[in-house]
Amino acid sequence: MSWLQRHIRPEQIRELSLLLLIIVAVLFFGSMIDGYYTSRTFNRIVSSIAIITIVAVGQTLVVLTRNIDLSVGSIVGCTAYAVGTVLGHYPGISPLLAVVMAVALGSLIGVVNGALVAWGRVPSIIVTLGTLAIFRGLLVDLSNAKTVTTDSLPPWLVNLPRLNMFSLFGLDIPALFLMSVIVVLIFHLGASYLSLGRRFYAIGSNPDAAALIGLPIRRLVFLAFVLSGSLAGLAGFVTLARFGNITVESGRGLELQVVAAVVVGGVNIFGGSGTVIGAMLGAIMIGTLEQSLYRLQISEFWRDAILGLLILLAVASDAVILQRLRALWGRADLKYVAPAGKPSLEGAHIP
């Protein structure tokens, strides 16, 4: 136990168990569906989760700070549509510039959310529930509800979903999926090895203490929303590439899947704990379900019901099991020992 306690934290156990759950799910589907273990199944799953994953990373940062961003679906829609339209008019634009545009636009929208939450002091659920509607409405009005269609897009973009970077054990790794993995890695390292990253955890873990030691809480919350926005923007670009045809409805309802991924991934809905990797695992879990269920004879309509149950289980396990684990870990408590270099005072010890 003590070895366990030293080297693995409850949170990591949480993630390992999710990984286990995914494997179980895959084995289950594999046993139920013949021809399940094919590169296409793999391709389906990874390319379907690319979008959710990228958005979930941003969502994780926001949730860590005890907030939530429900407007991501609308941000994805807006950026996908805007970038699509621009590329429609100027097909010459370089891929890099297109991505930059998407990210920039996304973060710009994120600024609105961030400012309202951080300085407007409006609870994030209210702000983003509102902007969820506002951004969508603006998109419909400003675009006159026109549609971006594949034919107007440059070929490199239309073909991007088919572009495989390399293949692993005969499984092709699509560029878009690779992109999402890179995003996850970058942000995971940032969250665990940058002081900045740790501060997101700090302010979510105990805002009062954070304020007392002078952490710039408002600025950090603001930053979290901007990052969430910019990643949603990036996801918007991926959406554009993947679906090609972008109606003003694009991305509607995505926020639910993303929040689901984050919660299932073990990010505490009330801030302070959870990891980016966990969020990705959550996304993979959801993607696997989504892409596998309809291949069973039961209809794909079971997906949402199961997803709802998953979220509940995730939260419940956090509340009940994780508390137990933490209590267990917490026992590793203080002992009074001889102060370094000084003779022993008294070796009293608290059980």
């Binding site: 306690q5 030691i213 203080l334 370094a340």
Partner: protein
């Protein structure tokens, strides 16, 4: 806050500053003043802290101690006056500024980050450790610092789940890591066991010997005189006196605090013990307390003595059904009963007045009358099940007179009342349930002297009416003065029951702290 005795202002001028003036002060405040709304929280405070000394700060609640701390730590900005660090003026605009200046504070409830590791908690406030976290190095340094303090905590484990004592060790380690020059400790011992206090003081002395200047705030005067080199007393936002320990005494400090000689509390006249009301045998709850047995008679005040965390409150909670007992028997009026919820406790005529007025005792935004009638709401309904406000008002008014609650109207939100009056509302609320057994948990904590006396009078009155009262209090003189008998608890066990005549501070304290020094405060459990 205003005090009833504000009339007699002490004429004692600040003294003793000269005694140490040859040494250079590390921190000095000059003429600090701060006003909140109408209240003059601080007025012309000039105070000097010197390296290598423990400087105690005494004063009743609202005397201005915490405001001064907030100002020194940069949390609050003063209206007037200046702060000097090692002789030169500084302006502390934020807590971060104060930290950079080498000033750190430790509060009664340590402010740690439960989700961050112990090591991170120690170094989190270092603004200058670079953009990248070097985990290995951080763990080493954290372990080193803790070892230096003579405590061992797994620096890799999250702070969540550490005991208060452990958390305070972490706070101190944090302070050391910032190599502070001034360490402010605001009631650090309030919720520590005797043993933990002893350990804490060891740390404090070690810091002092290393030349740190410590500002020590506490309500436990005996502790103050154990640890402090110098004692400063505040009252009504003004600095009344600053004296070396050698030149003062607990009595004298108290006199300064309250502005009048406060002799021992006037003992409540012993009442003839009525017939038996409540009989508890071998009561226990896993992890909290065990094998507690006692009898309570009509008109008797049974004091619960002991240190905070000795399990006295847990016994109260068990009797009231909030944290039901898992072992033992409760016999009420000769009938054995089981109490599994507050509702059941109330129905049996038991009332528990919580120690935490603001969080557990009252619903602050709601009106006085609504608070008073809450437990008995079902008695205030008409035949359609709707609430009869007139009847509520009547009840509230009755209690307002009986306990002389000072308020313009009983429709006022409780939040608007002073601590003492809130306490009275809470008493009214439970007296309204016509209890035969009344459990009072720290009924006078954090209320001013005047209100305290009133509450004592009420307790005496209720006992005279034949109510059996269990008085849980960490204020030893209070327990001794009010109780017919005193039950002393330690580590969740009933150590002894003293008749008033046999009970005095020493006997009770020895019983409460036990002999062996290996006493473990079971705050941990």
């Amino acid at each position: 806050m205003t005090e009833p005795n504000a009339a007699f202002k002490s004429t004692i001028a600040p003294t003793g500053v000269a005694a140490t003036s040859e040494r250079r002060s590390v921190l000095e405040t000059r003429g600090i003043a701060k006003q909140f709304d109408a209240t003059q929280a601080l007025d012309d405070i000039s105070l000097s802290l010197y390296p290598g000394e423990v400087h105690a700060l005494l004063g009743e609640n609202g005397a201005g101690k915490s405001t001064l701390i907030k100002i020194i730590t940069g949390v609050v900005q003063p209206d007037r006056g200046e702060i000097l660090l090692a002789g030169d003026r500084v302006s502390l605009r934020s807590a971060a500024d104060a930290q950079l200046a080498g000033i750190a504070a430790i509060y009664q409830e340590p402010l740690l980050f439960p989700d961050l590791t112990v090591a991170e908690n120690i170094f989190v406030s270092h603004q200058n450790r670079g953009a990248v976290v070097r985990w290995a190095r951080m763990y080493q340094e954290a372990e080193a610092i803790l070892a230096e303090l003579g405590v061992a905590i797994d620096v890799r484990s999250p702070a969540r789940g550490l005991t208060l004592a452990a958390q305070q060790s972490v706070e101190i380690a944090k302070a050391i890591s910032l190599n502070v020059r001034v360490l402010i400790m605001d009631e650090p011992t309030a919720s520590l066991s005797a043993h933990e206090v002893a350990q804490l003081f060891k740390l404090v002395r070690r810091l002092r010997d290393n030349g740190v200047s410590i500002l020590f705030v506490s309500h436990r005067i005996e502790e103050v005189f154990e640890i402090a080199d110098k004692v400063t007393v505040f009252r009504d936002g003004r600095l009344i006196s600053t004296r070396p320990k050698s030149e003062t005494s607990p009595q004298r400090s108290i006199a300064d605090m309250v502005g009048r000689e406060m002799g021992l509390l006037k003992p409540r006249p012993l009442s003839p013990r009525g017939d038996q009301l409540l009989s508890v045998r071998g009561l226990g709850r896993d992890g909290a307390f065990e094998d507690v047995s006692f009898d309570l008679h009509r008109g008797e005040v049974l004091g619960f003595g002991g240190l905070i965390g000795a399990g006295r409150t847990d016994v109260g909670l068990a009797l009231f059904g909030i944290e039901p007992a898992t072992a033992g028997t409760i016999t009420l009026n000769g009938k054995e009963v089981t109490i599994r919820s507050p509702r059941e406790g109330m129905d049996l005529g038991i009332a528990y007045v919580s120690e935490d007025r603001r969080q557990l005792g009252l619903s602050l935004p709601m009106s006085i009358s609504a608070n008073i009638t809450l437990p008995m709401l079902h008695q205030y309904l008409d035949r359609f099940g709707l609430i009869r406000h007139d009847k509520e008002q009547a009840t509230a008014e009755a209690f307002r007179k009986r306990l002389s609650i000072r308020t313009s109207s009983v429709d006022l939100a409780v939040a608007k009342l002073s601590g003492g009056n809130q306490q009275k509302v809470m008493l009214s609320k439970w007296l309204n349930t016509r209890p035969s057994v009344l459990i009072l948990d720290e009924p006078t904590r954090g209320i001013d002297v005047g209100a305290k006396a009133e509450v004592h009078a009420i307790i005496a009155e209720l006992a005279a009416e034949g109510i059996g009262i269990i008085l849980i209090s960490s204020d030893l003189p209070e327990v001794l003065a009010m109780s017919d008998r005193v039950l002393v608890m330690r580590e969740g066990r009933a150590m002894a029951i003293f008749e008033r005549k046999d009970a005095d501070q020493e006997t009770v304290m020895t019983a409460a702290m036990g002999q062996s020094s290996a006493v473990a405060g079971e705050v941990a459990a």
